[in-house]
C-alpha cells in the first residue's frame, strides 16, 4: 500500500480529533469530485437538474463519505485510497443526476406497450433487412421471456431508461435488474440460435 493511502487509513482510524479532521478533508475531496463530474455533464442535463446541482453534489458527497467509512475495512490498497474513495462519490452523483433528470418523466411499464416498441425499435435497425428476421425476434421475445423480463428489456434497451432509475421506480436494485436483463438476453440468444433464419443475427 502506498504511503499516502496508509496515512489516510491511519487518520480515519485515529482518535476523534484527528479522525474528524480527516473526515472533513475526505468530504471536501469527495465534494470536489462530485462537482467536477456534475460540471462535466452539465451541458447534457435538463435545466431543473442544473438548478439543483449544488444540493445534488452535497448529497452525493455526504452519502459517499458514509459509504467509504462503512467499507473502510474492505480497502486493501489495490489502488490509491483517493481513487478507491472517489468511485463511491462518482456512483452517487451519477445516479442522482440520472434520477433527477428522469424525475418528471413517465415510464410506461405496461405489457401492452412492449410489442409496439419492439416493432419500432427493430424497424429502426437497418441491419435487420428481412421482415422475417424482425418477426422472429418479436416472436422470440413473446414466447421465451417472462412478463418481467420483457418489461425490463423493453424499458432499458428500447426506451433507454437508465437501469438505476428503473430500479428506483420498481423498488429494486441496479444489480438485481441487471441480472434480469442479462438472463433475458441469454434466453433470447438461446432461442434465436436454434433458428437458422436468425443465425446471421448472432
Amino acid at each position: 500500500m502506498d504511503k499516502e493511502s496508509e496515512d489516510w487509513l491511519e487518520a480515519l482510524r485515529a482518535e476523534a480529533s484527528v479522525r474528524d479532521e480527516a473526515l472533513a478533508r475526505l468530504h471536501s475531496l469527495l465534494l470536489r469530485v462530485a462537482r467536477a463530474e456534475a460540471g462535466r455533464r452539465r451541458g447534457n442535463l435538463p435545466p431543473q437538474t442544473v438548478a439543483e446541482l449544488g444540493d445534488l453534489c452535497m448529497q452525493a458527497a455526504n452519502d459517499a463519505l458514509e459509504a467509504v467509512t462503512r467499507k473502510l475495512d474492505s480497502f486493501q490498497g489495490l489502488s490509491r485510497f483517493t481513487t478507491w474513495a472517489s468511485k463511491f462519490v462518482v456512483l452517487e452523483i451519477s445516479s442522482r443526476l440520472r434520477s433527477h433528470a428522469w424525475r418528471d418523466r413517465r415510464i410506461d411499464l405496461s405489457a401492452a406497450t412492449w410489442e409496439q416498441l419492439a416493432s419500432s425499435y427493430l424497424t429502426a435497425d437497418r441491419a435487420l433487412e428481412q421482415q422475417e428476421q424482425k418477426n422472429l425476434l418479436r416472436e422470440a421475445m413473446a414466447q421465451n421471456l417472462t412478463d418481467r423480463q420483457r418489461m425490463i428489456l423493453t424499458a432499458v434497451v428500447m426506451e433507454e431508461v437508465p437501469i438505476d432509475v428503473l430500479a428506483e421506480r420498481l423498488g429494486s436494485s441496479r444489480g438485481r435488474l441487471y441480472k434480469v436483463l442479462h438472463d433475458a438476453r441469454s434466453k433470447l440468444r438461446r432461442a434465436l440460435v436454434q433458428d437458422q433464419q436468425t443465425e446471421g443475427l448472432l
Binding site: 475531496l29 470536489r32 469530485v33 467536477a36 463530474e37 462535466r40 455533464r41 489495490l78 489502488s79 490509491r80 483517493t82 481513487t83 478507491w84 472517489s86 468511485k87 462518482v90 456512483l91 452523483i93 451519477s94 445516479s95 440520472r98 425499435y121 427493430l122 429502426a124 435497425d125 437497418r126 441491419a127 435487420l128 425476434l137 428489456l153 432499458v156 434497451v157 428500447m158 433507454e160 437508465p162 437501469i163 438505476d164 441496479r174 444489480g175 441487471y178 441480472k179 442479462h182 438476453r185 441469454s186 433470447l188 440468444r189 434465436l192 443475427l201 448472432l202
Partner: protein, 76 residues
C-alpha cells in the same frame, strides 16, 4: 456484423459479472487504464460489463474523466 441496436438487445456471450462486481474493481480498472495498461487483458469481465451496461459505462467514463484532471494533486 451485428448492429449496435441488436447488440444492446441481445448482449454478448462473454461472461458478465454484473454491476456490483464491476464496481468492486472499478478503482483498479481506472488506474490501469490511466497507466496505459491494457484493461482487456487485466479486467476482461469489467470491459464486457461496461460495454453491456450503459449506467456503469457512464459512471466509468465520469470516473476516468475526473481522475484525468489530477483533482487530488491540484486541490482544485
Amino acid at each position: 456484423m451485428k448492429s449496435r441496436l441488436l447488440e444492446r438487445l441481445l448482449g454478448t456471450y462473454s461472461p458478465d459479472p454484473g454491476c456490483e462486481a464491476c464496481f468492486e474493481l472499478l478503482d483498479q480498472y481506472a488506474e490501469a487504464v490511466l497507466c496505459g495498461e491494457d484493461p482487456v487483458s487485466r479486467f476482461p469481465d469489467v470491459v464486457t460489463h461496461i460495454r453491456q451496461c450503459e449506467a456503469c459505462r457512464e459512471d466509468t467514463e465520469g470516473f476516468l474523466a475526473v481522475l484525468r484532471t489530477n483533482i487530488f494533486q491540484s486541490g482544485k
